[in-house]
Each structure stands twice: as structure tokens, then as C-alpha cells.
């Protein structure tokens, strides 16, 4: 008996320590923001801007940044969050399914989307391989760098941009899938994430990097010369934000969410390369972006895109998805 109790004593001490530690609380309202990595620099300016408004006076933030899928899983597993900012809608849907984000999160005039961007082609200086169209990507001798869509949720935008661009040019579903096969024949490596794809491209591998316009613009702003081509047909990337049920209990969290669609915050997002979603800001000369001939979304039904839920299953299911066959041979 005595031996058993001594054996478990350290466990008891540990448990007691955890309970005591959890009681250390603070007085001021602290909101937890859990976000994907790219908008980190934007939030670094938006949060102080919010804190200088009347609504944000007594609010402080804890911030966590990481890969969108990892962040969603962390919140799903219990990481405390009042507000989540993720790179694509399915990561929010994961949290809706778990009952952490209310199902009406996208019932506002922006459908829950706080920033936009588009898929572009980053090319080598002077565009030596003369890459201008989606067709150019499948020419022999062209190497395309894009992350593995099975390891990078964000890379799924690239795949759907490629598919949708074919449909927008009048191709059939089958032709568009054949295009994906040809495209991925020109993909020599499959980096795990968008960040790693950028590293691989920077290391000298490949002729074209499929990425987001905001990443290319931001690199240029930071002084890393990045030449890119906006294709005639591309997908509109929309990044969601949502309050968790926890966050809904705090009026400050609601105020912060509203602030993200204010012209001040939208301009700060714009400064880091995103396309603002607020019309008044998007129209101003500084944040005006060229509009491609055909700009479609993940919900462009006429192009066979029926929203993330359908696309996830049809293209990215881990055993039966179209992309399993496109990549795995």
C-alpha cells in the first residue's frame, strides 16, 4: 500500500501544481488571437490602432501565429482563443464542427472574409522563360514550384486557381483535370508549406512559384525584389476571421472584430499586400489593384466550383481525391 502511494505521489504534486497555476488571473481584459502566419505584421499595427480607440482602451492581446491548419487544430484541441484568423474557410469549418465557432460566423456583409488576394506567378528576374499564361506553365522545360496541397491547406488555392482558370477558358471538367496532371508533371518537388515553397524557389530551384499576390507585394515592400505575373484568369483568395463562442462573451472581442472591417484596419491590411475587402478603401488609388480578365471564387458554380466543402471532398480527400492521382505517380 505504502509503496503504491509513494509511486503516485509525484503525479499528485504535479496535478496540484497545474491547478494552482491555473488560478493566476489578470484584471484587464485579455483577448486571445490565434492566426495564420502571413498577417502577423498587419496585426502588429492593427492591434495598437485598436487599443488607441475608445472601445479598445482596456484591452490587451495574446497572439499566436502558425500554419493555418495547425492553428485550427490547436484551437480544436483546446488552445484558448477569442478570435481566429485563418487562411481558408475549411479551417474555420473544422472549428464549427467542433462547436467552438458558432455556425453563423459568416453571417455578415463580408461573409466573414477580412482580406482578399489572388494567385499569381512569381518568376525569375526578367522572366527568362516568358511565363504569362497558365498554358505556359505546362510547357516542357518549365519547372513550377507549389506546395503539396495535402500538407498545405493554402496550396489548395493554387490548385483551384489552375482548375478554375481552365474552366474560365471554356475547357471541360475533364480537360481541366488533364491540365492539372500536366501541370504537376512540371512540379519537381512538393514543399510542405507556402513558406517552404518560397525557400525552395529562393534556393534557385524552379522557374515559376505559384503564390499569393500579397506575399509577392510584401516581399517587394521588404526590399526582396520579386517579379510576378498576374494571370488573365485567377481565383480570388478570401481569408476568414471569426469569433469563438468564448469571444462572443466579450464585448471587446466583438468590437475588435468590427474594427477589422474599419477603413483604418483595412488600410493596414492593404499596406502588407492584401486586397482590402472594404469598398471605400479598395477604390482609393493607393490600394487599387489590377483586375484580371476573369476573377472567380471558390463558389463560382458556372466553373464547377461549388464551395470549399465540395472541393475538399472531390479534389483533396486523402484517399479518393482527384489530387491523389494527380500527384501520386
Amino acid at each position: 500500500m505504502r509503496r503504491i502511494s509513494l509511486t503516485f505521489l509525484p503525479l499528485l504534486v504535479l496535478a496540484a501544481g497545474i491547478v494552482v497555476g491555473a488560478h493566476a488571473a489578470s484584471a484587464k481584459t485579455t483577448l486571445a488571437l490565434v492566426a495564420y502566419s502571413t498577417p502577423k505584421d498587419a496585426y502588429a499595427k492593427i492591434i495598437p490602432a485598436f487599443e488607441s480607440t475608445a472601445a479598445g482602451k482596456d484591452v490587451s492581446f495574446t497572439q499566436s501565429y502558425g500554419a493555418s491548419g495547425d492553428q485550427a487544430r490547436a484551437v480544436g484541441a483546446g488552445l484558448s482563443a477569442d478570435l481566429v484568423a485563418l487562411s481558408l474557410e475549411p479551417d474555420v469549418s473544422t472549428l464549427v464542427k467542433k462547436g467552438i465557432v458558432p455556425s453563423n460566423w459568416n453571417q455578415n456583409s463580408y461573409h466573414g472574409m477580412v482580406t482578399d488576394s489572388v494567385v499569381v506567378f512569381v518568376v525569375r528576374d526578367g522572366n527568362p522563360k516568358k511565363i504569362h499564361t497558365w498554358a505556359d506553365l505546362t510547357k516542357s522545360g518549365v519547372q513550377v514550384i507549389t506546395p503539396n496541397p495535402f500538407t498545405s491547406g493554402g496550396a489548395r488555392w493554387n490548385v483551384m486557381a489552375a482548375y478554375g482558370a481552365q474552366r474560365a477558358q471554356g475547357k471541360t471538367d475533364k480537360q481541366a483535370i488533364d491540365y492539372l496532371k500536366k501541370l504537376f508533371k512540371n512540379v519537381p518537388v512538393l514543399p510542405k508549406s507556402a513558406r517552404e515553397a518560397t525557400q525552395v524557389f529562393a534556393s534557385g530551384k524552379g522557374d515559376v512559384l505559384l503564390t499569393y499576390e500579397n506575399e509577392a507585394i510584401y516581399a517587394n515592400k521588404k526590399g526582396v525584389h520579386t517579379e510576378y505575373v498576374l494571370p488573365k484568369q485567377t481565383i480570388l483568395i478570401e481569408n476568414p476571421v471569426a469569433l469563438t463562442k468564448n469571444g462572443l462573451n466579450h464585448s471587446e472581442a466583438k468590437a475588435f472584430l468590427k474594427f477589422l472591417w474599419s477603413s483604418k484596419a483595412q488600410k493596414l491590411f492593404g499596406d502588407t499586400g492584401y486586397r482590402p475587402v472594404l469598398k471605400s478603401v479598395a477604390k482609393s488609388a493607393k490600394y487599387k489593384y489590377p483586375k484580371p480578365k476573369s476573377l472567380f471564387t471558390i463558389n463560382s458554380k458556372s466553373l464547377g466550383l461549388r464551395g470549399w466543402k465540395s472541393v475538399q471532398f472531390r479534389f483533396f480527400d486523402h484517399s479518393s481525391g482527384i489530387m491523389v492521382k494527380v500527384i501520386g505517380h
Binding site: T151, P191, V200
Partner: protein, 276 residues
């Protein structure tokens, strides 16, 4: 025979304060449970979540099987290579003396100190398409092996070094004075004493190579059936919302590592018995 610090032998006869012994054992068991056993049990539990048939399907999927095979072969190659280079480096550090030896000794542990993703990035710069030496190993199996060699370097060196330091030089000198050649002295006297330490280093290097993620994820290119290792495959399954598949492959990796560690442990035990 020289005592071998790398082979701790339990001493059943050791008498200590009984209550103190139980407390120490309690701390050891409690700590091991919290840090290792409980997470491993949870992992095995997760892998069985959808039944044994699903478990089997998950680990025999062509892509999963190819990744497992590549991981094991790469880990074996790396472990074997380390057995030679690690012993040689330890030898040089102990038996040789040269300028900058202290620095050389300190550098050995650097692969542990560096975040592995940084190691991957550095290797990609040095041995990628823009290599200053004109050596492009990136995005092929050679690059994968190189990254694994980098992160596993310290294991054998650090296992062999203390044993070599403790080794009684008198024996070697006696053998030499009796006319044995240098090679024979190494083979018959030094090597048998080093073998347990070499094996323990090799086992750790193998286990580390099986599980390595950060260092290989950039430089290997992650192409399924070509350069995708299991750790990268597992991360893909998690991102694709297939935690059962991820857990199943992890359990296989774990079982293999455990089997190797146990086998080497058993071999060492057997040798220690026969030496005495």
C-alpha cells in the same frame, strides 16, 4: 577489464533506504509516464480508433508503404555510416592532440543546438541549386541522407568518447610489447571494448533518423514514392484530416525503433555477460 560507463548494470544487491528507494522509483515512473508512456499509449489508442482493418489499410497504402520503406532504408544507411565516422571522430578527439581540438570537440554538439529547420535551410543553401561548391544534392535521396547525417552526428561520437577515455592503455601497450600489430590490437582489444558504446550510439542515431522531420522537410523535396519520408507523410495525413492514418504510420515507426533499441540492448547485455 575496464569498467564501461556506457553500460549501466543494475545492482540487485545495492541496499538503500527503502522508503527513499520507493520515492525515487515513484519519481522515475511518474516522470516516465507523464513524458513518454501516456502519450505513446494515446497514440496507439488513436491508431486503432477505426478498427484493425483500417489500421492495416492505412499502413499498406502505396504512398505510406513507400514512405516507410524509404525512411527505414535511409535510417539504416545513416546509422551504419555513423558507426564508422562517429568512432573515427571519437578516436581523433581522444587519442590525437592538435591545435583547435577543443573547438572541434564543441562543434560536434552543434547539430543538437541548431533548430533542425535551420539546419535544413543551411544545407539547402550549401548543397542546393545555388551551391557555392557546385554540389547540388537537394530534392533527391542524397540530400535526405545528408540532412540525416548532419542531425545524427553527435550520437556515436558522444557514446564512444567517454569509453575510449576510460580505456586502459596498459592492455594495448602490453599487447604491443608482446608483438601484436596495431591493427590486431585495435581489432582484439580496443574494438570489443568500444562495441557496446558504438551500438548504443548507432541505435540512437537510427531512432533519430526514423523520426526526423525539420531537417529533411526542406531538402528532400517530399515527392511521394521518391523522396517523401514517413514523418512528412504523417504531417500530410494530419493536414488532410486523416488522424487515424497519421497515428497508424507513427505506430509502425515507433514499433520499428523500439525493436531496434531492444535488439541492440539485448545484444549488449548478452555481450557483457559473456565478457565476464
Amino acid at each position: 577489464m575496464a569498467t564501461n560507463p556506457a553500460v549501466p548494470v543494475s545492482r540487485p544487491g545495492a541496499v538503500a533506504n527503502r522508503a527513499g528507494g520507493a520515492l525515487a522509483r515513484g519519481i522515475a515512473v511518474g516522470y516516465l509516464s507523464v513524458v513518454v508512456l501516456v502519450p505513446l499509449a494515446a497514440l496507439i489508442w488513436a491508431s486503432r480508433a477505426d478498427g484493425a482493418a483500417t489500421f492495416w489499410d492505412e499502413i499498406t497504402k502505396p504512398e505510406a508503404a513507400a514512405a516507410l520503406k524509404l525512411t527505414l532504408v535511409a535510417a539504416l544507411v545513416v546509422a551504419a555510416f555513423n558507426a564508422f565516422t562517429g568512432t573515427a571522430i571519437a578516436w581523433v578527439l581522444v587519442r590525437d592532440s592538435f591545435k583547435g581540438q577543443g573547438m572541434f570537440n564543441a562543434v560536434i554538439d552543434l547539430p543538437f543546438a541548431l533548430p533542425t529547420i535551420v539546419a535544413g535551410l543551411v544545407l539547402l543553401e550549401l548543397y542546393g541549386p545555388n551551391s557555392p561548391f557546385g554540389v547540388d544534392l537537394a530534392f533527391q535521396r542524397a540530400g535526405l541522407i545528408m540532412a540525416l547525417l548532419f542531425v545524427t552526428l553527435p550520437f556515436v561520437v558522444r557514446a564512444v568518447q567517454p569509453v575510449l577515455l576510460e580505456l586502459d592503455r596498459d592492455m594495448e601497450e602490453a599487447a604491443e610489447s608482446l608483438g601484436a600489430r596495431r591493427l590486431a590490437v585495435f581489432r582484439r582489444i580496443v574494438f570489443p571494448n568500444l562495441l557496446p558504446a558504438i551500438l548504443s550510439g548507432v541505435a540512437l542515431a537510427f531512432a533519430r533518423a526514423v523520426g526526423e522531420f525539420g531537417a529533411v522537410v526542406l531538402i528532400s523535396g517530399n515527392v511521394p514514392f521518391k523522396t517523401e519520408v514517413s514523418s512528412v507523410y504523417i504531417s500530410g495525413q494530419i493536414e488532410s484530416d486523416n488522424p487515424t492514418g497519421a497515428a497508424a504510420v507513427s505506430v509502425v515507426l515507433l514499433a520499428i525503433s523500439l525493436a531496434v533499441l531492444l535488439a541492440i540492448g539485448a545484444f549488449r547485455h548478452w555481450r557483457t555477460r559473456h565478457d565476464r
